[in-house]
Symmetry: C2
Subunit: 414 residues, 2 copies
């Protein structure tokens, strides 16, 4: 019943059902998403995708963020390109329990469709965004951690489902159509961890957005899939979690009771690693962290920005100062250290040492970024693309997009 | 090295390398594909997909088979819609060792692209088709049977890879680009067996075609994935075969030595079940078959044509005579019976019985359909859509499409 129950919950979710904390979390998620999408819009991965798909563009309806009114495309390609841009700097949000970055696929689909269709209120958009994010995270929890361990990029493998649920809400699908939309999204399992460090990593959420968008639209036209797509013997959860026992029923039953979007955190820095140490006098840096941190950040000799901390340009990654620090860091994995925790000891040339213990990184749930910090991050990301004045204007729009009767009018200026 | 080796083999395959038996098999596969695509072009699943995607169509370049010159679309959507149509009647080819239907995804991508680009010779098209089919079947063999057993629809989960390799050849990608194209296709794993009996089953090869097409085009623009996409610890084979030991190296090493397209068979009837029995006097039918036959055909009360033998219209599936026969068939699974073998015993009202043993079904490798039988099948499928005269013309084109300097000119009339 997981598929039908998810569909029924999503269909009946109303804006009035959202607690104010959930609404605020959704506004922040959307705002952070738009900053990431604009900030990533000039990345070579986006440019290459744009060049590939441009000959196939349909009638323009939707904004490619960072390009504004001057360069729009159809909703399918907008969802794809914005989805790529939103993740390409690895600067997006994180649902910490699953390490899903939930907003990218869902918002990329929703906003592209909202512009295509027009007359979608901010209130309905937020409700659809919450439905999609909850869907992605709940099905993600059901297959976590075996699904991720096997090698799936969980943000996109769950993202198409979330995107379908979100767009399905804007389409006002009935429960059966919504279940078919979930099924159509569930057969498009996108994203392998092997691609980390390459352009394809950010293709994953883009394609998930596009797949979910079209799944919902196909279901609206009566395209059928399965009403047990998630839980069937050969349905999504069993197939993609390698035979692990799915906990689908448990997590689907939590919908509307425990809101995953409240556990969505924002990265103050890509990879969560700070910067700004004085370089010359440092001899050695010892770091003790959770093993996953080593795996996700351990490319000691990245060739370009994608293989290194994604915030950095290719030039920065190969900067001699940066390289010299990288070469003297000794990271030790330790299961007892929390995923957002770090023990740090710096050894200086004169024999002195400096130790620090970060219990929770900034941007963790225990120490969330404030709205002001999110704004600072947004301006940081977008100024590089838009210049200062337009970045400030974009920030104002992005904070306000969930208000008012028609989101389309606002998005056109991003 | 499997990914690089596959890429290198595909890049260096020339039309002159194809044995005449392989060429003939490719011509037959292409011919059969076109009959299926035209024959399926009016199916409701295609119509619903058409209605969904039409608002997003880009500039027309490529034929939607069965619609001819009057209704064309861009290459992306043509590959998708033709891919759906080619499989919707379950009448397509079968690589028996993996039960992959290999031509649908590969040919849908290749032909749509050939029309978009123009100036693709029949010879180059056939070579690309062979490369794509070999790629799909070899990676399919490497993960067979665990991949299928887990629940993947193996025709589409391997089809995007085959389509990328085929289009990559037409693009004359270099080895590294080809490897990236394979990786981009490999992260889009499409198709769950749970969808059998629904519209989504035929969406699988359509989406695989489109995904493979765009993967090759992205790689041409420099989009990067991984050069170990197939064999890496968290690459395609390990992730989608549930930890089964991949036999990738073995099968990739066979490329060009053992041609899988020669083991590609054609179905004389959808589901391989004959028709035309006298109904009234039959009391009971005993059938002894391989267990897989039961699983794939055992919907005793199909609601529509998709759940029943796909050749049949919804009206036929619910026809009282058909239902009455269906209700008196007793099928017994037996592991000792071959997959294309059947023992049949018919009990008549007067006490007489009639027994038969079919060692190899028509359309099996041991008893392949002749070119004349393929033509008959093509005319059967296409006359319903095009009328007799146009069906004959289409058949002539479909047999000749692999000849001549530019396939695009011929495809426009299908």
């Amino acid at each position: 019943m997981a598929t039908k129950n998810l569909a029924a919950w999503a269909c009946h979710l109303n804006p009035g059902d959202l607690p104010s904390t959930v609404k605020h979390a959704a506004v922040r998620s959307l705002y952070n998403y738009l900053g990431c999408a604009i900030g990533g819009s000039r990345h070579p991965a986006v440019e290459k995708a744009y060049a590939t798909f441009e000959p196939f563009f349909g009638a323009s309806s939707s904004t490619i963020y960072g390009h504004g009114r001057k360069n729009r495309t159809d909703a399918q390609h907008a969802s794809l390109l914005n989805g790529i841009a939103s993740h390409v700097h690895d600067y997006d949000d994180t649902h910490l329990a699953t390490i899903i970055h939930p907003t990218g696929p869902v918002a990329s689909a929703l906003l592209a469709y909202a512009e295509y269709r027009g007359s979608i209120s901010g209130e309905d958009l937020l409700c659809a965004l919450v439905a999609g994010i909850e869907a992605s995270c709940k099905v993600g929890l059901a297959v976590w951690p075996s699904h991720y361990d096997i090698g799936w990029h969980i943000m996109s493998s769950t993202g198409s489902i979330g995107a379908a649920v979100g767009v399905g809400k804007l389409l006002e699908l009935n429960e059966e159509q919504m279940a078919h939309a979930i099924g159509l999204a569930a057969v498009q399992v996108i994203g392998l961890r092997e691609m980390f460090g390459s352009d394809t990593k950010s293709f994953h959420p883009g394609r998930a957005a596009q797949s979910g968008l079209m799944a919902a639209l196909m279901a609206e036209k009566g395209y059928t899939s399965s009403l047990q797509a998630l839980e069937a013997k050969r349905g999504w959860a069993n197939v993609v979690a390698g035979g692990g026992t799915p906990k689908l029923d448990h997590y689907i039953a939590e919908l509307g009771k425990k809101w995953e979007i409240e556990a969505n955190a924002f990265k103050p820095f890509p990879c969560g690693i700070s910067k700004g140490l004085a370089v010359g006098e440092i001899q050695r840096v010892e770091v003790r962290v959770h093993p996953l941190v080593i795996e996700l950040t351990s490319k000691r000799k990245p060739k370009d920005g994608l293989e290194g901390p994604a915030q950095h340009s290719d030039a920065t990654v190969t900067d001699p100062n940066v390289v010299s620090i990288r070469d003297i860091v000794e990271a030790t994995p330790n299961e007892d250290v929390g995923a957002d925790e770090a023990y740090l000891r710096i050894h200086f040339a004169d024999g002195q040492t400096l130790a620090n213990h970060v219990k929770h990184a900034v941007g963790s749930l225990e120490k969330p970024m404030t709205d002001e910090q999110l704004t600072e991050k947004f301006l940081d990301q977008t100024t590089l693309v838009l210049g200062k004045a337009k970045a400030v204007a974009a920030s104002n729009i992005a904070w306000a997009v969930a208000e008012g009767p028609d989101v389309a009018g606002m998005l056109r200026d991003l």
